[in-house]
Symmetry: C2
Subunit: 321 residues, 2 copies
């Protein structure tokens, strides 16, 4: 009998969800807890939309749309076409099936049920064995300051297709937000064997979670090792605006900068084979490095990377943190 | 040049909407105003659903589902199937396209726009040339008292498929509801040439409208004739629970009883050819009678009946009311 090695994974949307899927294939139900960014959440058409939570849930339920990176596979679009007829905004695509989750969640939230509870409920309904917690039940909204205005992340990301130059990113509502009960209990648990920072955008997806009161401190104070997987490969991001945003913020888009960003929090990082040249400089930061194929195309890629993450964590755990 | 003969038609769902469609085909845009029952409205899945308003709008826009009598033609059902997966109630069917209108309306209402204004907006978006007003911007809810409980109309009609015996019908919220601005202006207008009571359920669809403050009195005081079309044919209703409900309320399901119900309000009634035997008794009530084919199967049937309604009204207008 092996003692369960409990893993707490912090994830944003598509990139993070891929590693989460890999972890789900090698972990028992009680071994994996996923904490998901809600900084991208927004109110649209009167509905509470939680893009990252839904991407993680759809991915774990194996009903995600792998091509788009959001929404469900085998989706239909009648709602959107009828909405267009009404002259309503159609820049944010909500498929007919995806809409069911959004309507369901919105009604539950309006009736006083927390985002955590509705997320747990939905995950169960989709047959997901793992705990999936939103980072907070309170609204934290990632806002993008451009040279001309401050806009919500979805406005920037979807409506404006990341065209504006980002000058600053801030998390509105952070001052009055608390970690969700699930995240709070997780942080106070003595059973965590490893924290995993998934390959999501550090600024947009991971930082909102780490910036919640006490989250970063709890992780640092924990004896469990913290392993990050770089979202950067060979000077760019695989999907999403990480590379563009880092450039606009004046940060070179390199694995070194990702490691620097997480310095003091992480004990190890897995970077792309292509970025092996960054190893020495990252190690000088006091961060252990492994290089690997971190481009998770196949199911096997995801499983292999997840396996590597956990073996790296076990290896780091044997050292003093 | 003919002087416009302005018609105010009061309608519930499917039966009423058929006559409204007929009227729309023989009236110019400024000649027809439709007032629609909202007693059947309800909140479902956090959405404000207005079944009768939508049936009238979909019918006038020629996108209604003629088979079901509700919803849109060429509808898809992905939302409902996904909702079922979430264990949410699926007894009230909302098609993917139909949902767009419901989501759109709900968001507008939540933002403070009135039901009247969103109805006018939606009718315009669907290219409807006629004014369509909900009876009220305030919530009036038709409640069904059965032997065991009091339930909303949709609960009775859709979820319980009209199975419980109706003991009483009442209109919750009527005390604090006002006619919608459009209906109010209509009633105060001196230009109405005829009021038409469409062949909808008198108790469920027409009475909520007539019971709003001052509506019945305004219609009675108006010099314009009031013509009803019977929703009853040969001892039964064509669609919907009119016959069953009348029976349970101890009222014979006859054209005579419909005329009695509207006595004092209407000047004339068009009844089915099959009910010609009721003519003398109805005329003894002081109500003029025409018999006709009131089963509107084809477009021509609807147009013919609408034409008859207006010629009957013109004929009644020439007599003293």
């Amino acid at each position: 009998m092996t003692i369960p090695f409990k893993v707490a994974a912090f994830s944003g949307g598509v990139g993070g969800a891929k590693l989460v899927l890999g972890l789900s294939q090698i972990c028992a139900a009680e071994e994996l807890t996923v904490v998901v960014n809600t900084g991208d959440d927004f109110e649209h058409l009167g509905l509470h939309v939680s893009p990252d939570v839904d991407t993680v849930i759809y991915t774990l339920a194996a009903i995600n749309n792998a091509e788009t990176g959001w929404g469900r596979a085998d989706e239909t679009w009648s709602f959107m076409s009828a909405l267009q007829q009404l002259g309503a905004p159609t820049w944010f695509q909500l498929g007919d099936k995806d809409l069911a989750l959004n309507v369901y969640r919105t009604e539950k939230l309006r009736s006083g049920i927390t985002l955590s509870d509705v997320t747990i409920d939905v995950a169960q309904k989709f047959g997901i064995r793992f705990r999936v917690f939103p980072m907070s039940n309170d609204p934290v909204r990632t806002m993008i300051e451009t040279d001309s205005e401050t806009i919500s992340f979805q406005d920037y990301f979807v409506r404006q297709k990341c065209r504006p130059a980002v000058q600053k990113i801030r998390y509105q509502g952070l001052d009055s937000a608390l970690p969700s009960p699930g995240l709070d209990a997780l942080l106070k648990s003595s059973e965590i064997g490893a924290y995993v920072i998934c390959p999501s955008n550090p600024y947009l997806s991971i930082d909102p979670m780490l910036s919640l009161p006490s989250v970063r401190d709890h992780i640092i104070d924990s004896p469990a090792p913290v392993v990050a997987v770089s979202p950067v490969v060979a000077g760019g991001s695989l999907k999403g605006p990480t590379g563009k945003i880092m450039g606009e913020l004046g940060i070179p888009c390199t694995a070194i900068e990702v490691a620097k960003h997480y310095k003091g929090l992480i004990n190890g990082i897995i970077i792309a084979d292509q970025d092996a040249g960054d190893t020495a400089e990252i190690e000088r930061l006091g961060v252990h490095v492994i290089t690997a194929n971190i481009v998770m195309k196949s199911t096997q890629d995801k499983r292999d990377l997840a396996t590597l993450v956990l073996s790296f964590a076990r290896q780091l755990a044997s050292k003093s943190k």
